[in-house]
């Protein structure tokens, strides 16, 4: 049985300190207080439980912590405080344009990605033709992916990622890229995948698709869980909540 439990999870990014630190600045800091570098609190006191069979939507403005939370659930970001207990094989689909071997061709990249996502070599042999077909890349699969366009990366990664059988599926606004025809066929495949997984958590901005997909939705604001409950209620809270902090106003157009 798959399950997700988070307890009082805090996660902060040390912006200045982590990204731009050189050895010189680290040496300078020795013996001083660690005041250099800002910290951004990406998640604060996040507690939640998701049981097998649940499909959970994740909403909130840009920068509210949706992607960060998904990465914590995936075990990619270790939080500074709190407890994370995840049970079950995880498959994460966050972005489809990185994680390629540029010099390798499409076939090799399918194999690599499928393996990293937890498919066994035999499983890959069985599915690779089907993956190739879904990607609609045809003979482009024979050339190094360095020559691919962004849309082609997305198709390759999407076709491969959706071939796995995860227990826990984590999605981050993945339907955003690709041309119209591909999106149409992709939607069906994504639905199939979501049916197979026993837990689905997916972050999105498209509030209209949410009620169809999941009964439960979580609303994040500034790294806090503001609401967690039936989708209709949470979406209503999200829409009604007036933008009350500077960070929230970014999305709304300014009128003179």
């Amino acid at each position: 049985m798959a399950s997700i439990h988070l307890e009082q999870v805090d996660l902060e990014f040390r912006v200045g300190a982590e990204r731009h630190q050189t050895l010189k600045s680290a040496v300078r800091q020795v013996g001083r207080h660690r005041s250099v570098g800002r910290t951004v609190k990406a998640l604060q006191g996040v507690t939640l439980s998701i049981r097998s069979g649940e499909r959970v939507g994740l909403i909130g403005h840009n920068g509210a912590g949706k992607s960060t939370l998904l990465k914590v659930l995936a075990g990619i970001y270790p939080p500074q405080r709190g407890r994370v207990a995840i049970d079950g094989h995880i498959c994460s689909m966050f972005e489809f344009i990185t994680g390629f071997e540029m010099e390798a061709n499409g076939w090799e990249n399918i194999r690599t990605r499928a393996m990293l996502l937890g498919m066994s070599p035999r499983e890959i042999d069985e599915k690779i033709e089907q993956i190739a077909e879904v990607s609609k890349l045809g003979e482009f699969l024979d050339i190094p992916v360095r020559h691919y366009s962004t849309g082609m990366y997305v198709r390759l990664a999407f076709a491969t990622s959706t071939a796995v059988n995860p227990q826990i599926l984590l999605l981050d606004e993945v339907m955003a890229a690709g041309d119209a025809a591909f999106i149409e066929s992709a939607r069906k495949r994504m639905n199939d995948l979501m049916e197979r997984a026993s837990i689905v958590v997916f972050a999105t901005h498209s509030l209209d698709v949410l009620p169809g997909f999941c009964q439960r939705t979580i609303l994040l604001r500034h790294g806090h869980i503001v609401a967690d409950g039936p989708t209709e209620d949470v979406v209503r809270i999200y829409i009604e909540s007036a933008p009350d902090a500077p960070g929230d106003r970014v999305d709304t157009p300014q009128h003179p």
Partner: protein
């Protein structure tokens, strides 16, 4: 053992257990590195032959060494030295090169350490086959003692794995480290008996300490001596190598303890 240490140990074992992934990735790295070049993997041999020819004939004359002994000595020395250097310099990029995977796939990051370890080790093994040819040409003695090079090489692989671990963590956090290490290895190259025989330094009493205290020299010896003389290396070389590996292991676990949880944020 603390909770986070236990989690780390679990992660290491989980990563090791996924060997079919990192072996494949490591082999693929070697293939792809040479794919677009006309000579392909042969570049490893071309590289080596040019160096051996250039250094070999000049230094053999300069140092008054018979080519029959010096060329095999130089060849194996350079191969092993390159192995150590790339463990540090290429190994330092282990996480950086795998950033695309680390940031979106939930697998323990040690997988990418093992990946770099495989690609670096495989390159060294390919280069080692060049020594076989040189050994045949110059009729290097072969006997049961030659097989002692195998455990010796395993010690070297262990050292390589630890070096990759240490420098991958440090260099992700402080991007200067790989450059500094590469400078350091260049200096060590001239101090360590690779392009000159150890005996020459030993003759000068004041300089002999440079050899005896240099762990790199002893690490080379545990592979080089059995291959050249079909017998074991000096016992002191095994002792220093064991000590060196223990120190590297302590450094690796310290570095992991400090930085492991921050790697993904530093990428």
């Amino acid at each position: 053992m603390s909770e986070s240490m236990r989690a780390t140990v679990r992660d290491v074992f989980r990563a090791a257990g996924l060997w079919h992934i990192w072996v494949r990735l490591g082999i693929q790295d070697v293939r792809l590195k040479f794919r677009r070049s006309a000579l392909g993997v042969s570049w490893i041999f071309v590289n080596l032959s040019v160096l051996v020819l250039a250094i070999g004939f000049i230094y053999a004359n300069l140092l008054g060494q018979p080519a029959r002994e010096f060329i095999p000595y130089l060849t194996i020395g350079l191969i092993l030295w390159n192995y150590l250097t790339s463990s540090i310099v290429e190994g330092g990029n282990a996480f950086i090169n795998s950033e695309g995977y680390i940031k979106q796939i939930s697998l323990p990051i040690y997988l990418y350490i093992f990946r770099a370890f495989v690609s670096i080790g495989l390159t060294a093994l390919i280069a080692l086959s060049a020594f076989v040819i040189v050994a045949l040409l110059y009729q290097v003695p072969v006997g049961p003692g030659t097989l002692l090079a195998v455990p010796g090489f395993m010690l070297m692989m262990l050292a390589s794995l630890l070096l990759v671990t240490i420098f991958a963590h440090l260099n992700t956090r402080f991007r200067d480290v790989a450059h500094m290490a590469s400078v350091g290895m260049q200096v060590l190259f001239y101090v360590t008996p690779v392009i000159f025989p150890a005996e020459l330094l030993r003759k000068r009493r004041s300089l002999s300490l440079v050899i005896e205290l240099n762990p790199m020299y002893h690490l080379l010896e545990v592979v080089r001596r059995p291959l050249l003389a079909a017998g074991p290396a000096d016992w002191r070389s095994y002792a220093v190598t064991a000590l060196f590996i223990a120190v590297l292991a302590a450094m690796a676990s310290t570095v992991i303890g400090f930085y492991q949880r921050r790697i993904v944020f530093a990428l």
